[in-house]
Symmetry: C2
């Protein structure tokens, strides 16, 4: 088939033709080089491995002994075997320091984020114990600090609260949270195993920046409950509801809470500011939350007779994570929402975890396998859902502190987990007087850092569409809902891709006098149209989404050219050359324009030919790439076009057609 088509392309080979009277260069004519003949199975296999294994994860296993293969496999699934054997005391020292540092952040964060998800504070601590241990064994990042994160907590809280009230039905709510966590884990693991990790790429940066900023505003507004000491707060998340609820409950505001909240908020923001200005002082902002918790607890304890208006955490049960596998919920009316919440929080958790892992890996020059990370995070969440944990992932704030504190391996996560263990076993009564307002202040400080307006300004400068996507995500989250905002922004991003495909560029080419060069006449002033010819180039694959457009656009080009010719009284157009690709063997590159074609595209070409034929123009194709050539052949489009309608280069086409149509050029 391929051989047959290349014969056809050869039709003008015997003649060596001079084109363009101004030039004295004789054209060298080469044979077009078709791709090696592949069977259907081979090409499917090739496509498959390019889609699912672009990083060739098995390359290490090639040409190895079975035992080495087994060891490598073990190391692949449990990276701890990779770095474990080289572990030494010096590394341990660094890891202990960084582990303790992140523990001091993890404990107040755990309690606060659990509240964000409408869960009991203790769940946040449980979630900072089991998952980090598992990640230390399974994860390939050395700097990821694992635990609950604000965005996933917020999304879980807002999605579940839409169907079940956490105050009216706390047990059902808890069950749904664990179930959602379980499904998040299943979803994450499946993405990794099926090597569909690229799905998280569809959350583009503008989407994420806009979404995160919107969620940060929503979260901060939610904290007004804690900051103002409001008792009866709206369960809704939308900005309008929250603000009207804040105003209507003015009578419930407690001045003691407000004063305490504002003081600590200012303290936390100030420490954050210092750490941003002087990155070496990162430990100031890392230690601030625990300091605030301790200070505020002491204050409330000392003045407990006068601070009854300040609500506190109260009694927390001592002890390790209780098993919760029996609380998973696999049937009933709320299963659908649990699965949906699991998928949405799962994908958000993955996005944060993988992005954070990649960021720090790139700073220390090692690589993260996205699909493997997904399996690690997924397994961690599945196991977490059976041990009273909710959705966890690599947290940006925790990982940054971990990295800055000098973490060397995942052992820092183990140290953190051990610290949380001690807290769980012995220190829980100390939180009795911790005021809720301090948790609100910690959350606000954490999420304010997520509003990345500088990046949004950069989008505006660099790419207006990205800026728009970012705004859509932001306002979608604020005024519709967290998941709607996300969905719309993803839709807008995908729409851009589809738009690019739906509206491919077509350009008119002209000859640069004295050369064999054909350039875009719109861009190169000296490129001149060749009389009697009209040369069009298509710069995209031709497929169902653009075949109608291309038909219309090409006819419009032809019509405009006719009008131009009449207006300028030029020579009539006789032949239309459709340049399908940029292959040219006299020249440096091998870039394909029409890199692919489908059956709709093939029909469009036939249709264009038919329409031009009716207007007595001759249509000539120039240089389809291998794959397109094969399809032109197998669909018998070439037969329809006849022999003298396919050339290797625009130059050859012009030379030969001129001779045949007796056109003087």
């Amino acid at each position: 088939m391929v051989g047959g088509s290349s014969n056809k392309v050869d039709t003008v080979h015997e003649t060596s033709i001079r084109v363009n009277t101004g030039s004295s260069s004789t054209m060298e004519i080469h044979k077009v080089c078709l791709p090696p003949n592949k069977t259907t199975f081979q090409s499917i296999k090739h496509n498959f491995s390019e889609i699912f294994f672009p990083d060739d994860p098995l390359h290490k296993f090639k040409n190895q002994k079975p035992f080495t293969k087994f060891l490598l496999g073990l190391q692949y699934f449990f990276p701890i075997f990779q770095w474990g054997s080289d572990y030494n005391l010096k590394l341990l020292k660094s890891d202990v320091i960084s582990g303790l540092t992140i523990a001091s952040l993890a404990i107040p964060q755990g309690i606060s984020y659990a509240k964000l998800a409408n869960l009991p504070p203790i769940i946040g601590l449980y979630s900072s114990f089991v998952p980090p241990l598992l990640y230390a064994i399974l994860g390939s990042s050395r700097h990821l600090g694992v635990g609950p994160v604000s965005i996933a907590s917020l999304v879980m809280g807002s999605m579940l609260r839409e169907v079940v009230s956490p105050t009216a039905e706390p047990i059902l709510y808890l069950k749904l949270a664990f179930t959602a966590t379980f499904f998040a884990g299943v979803f994450q693991t499946s993405l990794g195993l099926l090597r569909l990790g690229f799905i998280i790429d569809f959350l583009s940066k503008p989407t994420l920046i806009g979404f995160t900023a919107g969620a940060a505003v929503i979260v901060s507004l939610q904290q007004l409950k804690g900051m103002l000491g409001i008792v009866h707060f709206t369960p809704k998340m939308q900005i309008v509801n929250v603000l009207s609820s804040v105003i209507s409950t003015e009578k419930e505001w407690s001045w003691q809470t407000v004063v305490m909240g504002m003081s600590f908020l200012i303290f936390l923001l100030a420490t954050r500011h210092i750490s941003i200005k002087k990155p070496k002082l990162f430990w100031i902002s890392a230690a601030a939350p625990l300091t605030s918790v301790i200070l505020s607890t002491i204050l409330v304890y000392v003045f407990r007779a006068h601070t009854s208006a300040i609500s506190t955490i109260g009694h927390l049960p001592k002890g390790l994570n209780p098993p919760s596998a029996n609380m998973l919920y696999f049937s009933g009316t709320h299963l659908a929402i649990a699965i949906k919440t699991g998928i949405v929080t799962g994908i958000l958790a993955l996005t944060e975890g993988v992005a954070v892992g990649r960021t720090f890996a790139s700073l220390r020059n090692y690589q993260i396998d996205g699909n493997k990370e997904m399996i690690a995070i997924g397994v961690m969440n599945m196991a977490g859902s059976c041990t009273s944990c909710y959705v966890t992932t690599g947290s940006f704030s925790r990982s940054a502190v971990n990295f800055n504190a000098g973490a060397q391996t995942a052992v820092s996560n183990i140290v953190m987990a051990a610290t949380v263990l001690i807290t769980l076993l012995f220190l829980m009564p100390l939180f009795y007087y911790t005021p809720n307002v301090i948790l609100a202040a910690i959350i606000i400080t954490a999420v304010i850092g997520l509003i990345n307006y500088q990046e949004a300004i950069k989008f505006w400068k660099v790419d207006k569409y990205d800026f728009m996507t970012c705004l859509v995500a932001f306002f979608g989250v604020l005024f519709l809902s967290v998941q709607m905002g996300l969905a719309i922004a993803v839709g807008v991003s995908v729409l851009k891709i589809l738009m690019n495909v739906t509206r491919p560029t077509t350009v008119v080419l002209g000859n640069i006098p004295g050369t064999q060069i054909f350039q875009n006449v719109g861009r190169y002033g000296d490129a001149a149209r060749v009389p009697s010819f009209f040369i069009l180039a298509i710069e995209s694959p031709i497929c169902f989404a653009n075949s109608t457009y291309l038909q219309e656009r090409i006819l419009r080009w032809v019509r405009e050219e006719e009008e131009r010719i009449v207006a300028n009284k030029e020579q009539d157009m006789k032949t239309i050359i459709l340049d399908l690709t940029a292959i040219d063997l006299d020249v440096s590159y091998n870039f394909a324009a029409v890199t692919a074609i489908d059956t709709n595209g093939l029909e469009a070409i036939v249709e264009i030919r038919k329409m031009l034929d009716k207007r007595s123009y001759k249509l000539v194709l120039v240089n389809p790439v291998g794959q397109v050539m094969e399809k032109l052949e197998s669909s018998r489009t070439l037969e329809l076009f006849g022999e003298k309608s396919l050339y290797l280069t625009v130059g050859e086409a012009i030379a030969d057609m001129s001779k045949r149509l007796k056109i003087e050029i």
Copy 2:
């Protein structure tokens, strides 16, 4: 900004360098030609008009007097003013003949298709009266035969029956059908007015072929009720339910019905076969349905004493379309399903109408403006919903007969409408004894023609993915539901586009000895790697959906190259050249590979540079196109890269880098 960047590109301009010792050609160095500087507004305007007005529908209005503009506008919205003035007796004669021919088809089809949508047969006749009249005024196709069509009827029937039983609540069902028709019209008109006509392009040919074949099977199976004379038939559409219902109701089968049905089915299929074999005898199959209706009615009337087992249409009210605007349903529980049904049937009706219009327009060499056709069909359906009509569009079978019978203008639709009018006013009692089985036979004959297995075989030969899409649509419709099958097939088509974008091709380039040509080393055997250099070309826009993939893939290329160098003991790699485009001014083409980049893409480039830097490789970019260049500049990526990292051609990059790094080549 643009000027500044072009200065940077110029950095190697002063030197004229010889590359590649085998060649004696001296490189001419050209300035890269940036696109004319546009303001944000200008470029948005340009993009907007390319997206929404690719066919430049207003070009006729340019440079015209106001009155001419008004006339042209009138002709634009009411094409009847365009051809009306040239109308003559000869045209009328052709139109009367073709109009009568399609009326003979339209009457039995109208009755049958209404039954397919679970509507009273008379609605099908009403729908063949008002809409054709409106289309004659508004439509731009001269050959479209307007009326109810099988696919839209089936989809409406199946979607509405899921929520409301047409036998238990006939009035509500009728209301929903009119409401769905109204929303179909609103949706169609909006698509046309907003110039979003390209949305129907997303129903690719493989999707439509698979979907139509699936629907045809479903429809044919539904006709078993009529063909076998079954009284208690399942209301479900899925193949499994229907077959089990047919078997379980075996006792209800009526042999008289079966005999009559099979005889007429064979007659109809035979006439269809004759017309396919000899297209000149098209009138045989066109007249067959009416002949069958007349013959079978006479038969049942004559033997009425013995044929009580054969169910007949029964009493039909005489008279014109009653108004039905008061039956539209704008609130209540079923509004959502009415809107959904309207959108799905609306889009299917559009797809058929526009495709049929384009097919016959192309045969007679005139053009159809897709967006305008949508407005015409939409208005026709909105008006239809107020005059007791359900969804109508240009029907393939009717239009083919119309075309073959010699129709010249939309007057043939008026003649058809007039004939239907006479039928409605005077002939309704004649249908009293028309057996339902004949309608089933007519439907089966009509839909069997829609199963285009030859096309499916062609997909298999030409494009395996298209074949798969076709199968997905087919089996989706058969085993899930009509709308699910359609949705999944559209998803599969779009997935292919996204896959193409997500996994762009990257190729390694090598130099063809003795030339300045750099070609894909995998494809061109004589292309040789340049020692110390590694040249990669990217063949797609870089955006959020592929930036992570590209990072991974490029690092894998680098790793594989390192391994190859070690294995072959070649000279170490020092510089990696990333070829962003195919612009080369020595050469014939101006095709861009990386035609666009977004903020994710820019970051990916920075990230790749950082990673290569850590491995002490130098990264050099070659020749970004104008738009990409602007973004590299405005995002300050160029600053980061420094001056000597951007070249016009691969040849220049190699020459200059060799000199600077003192590499011998």
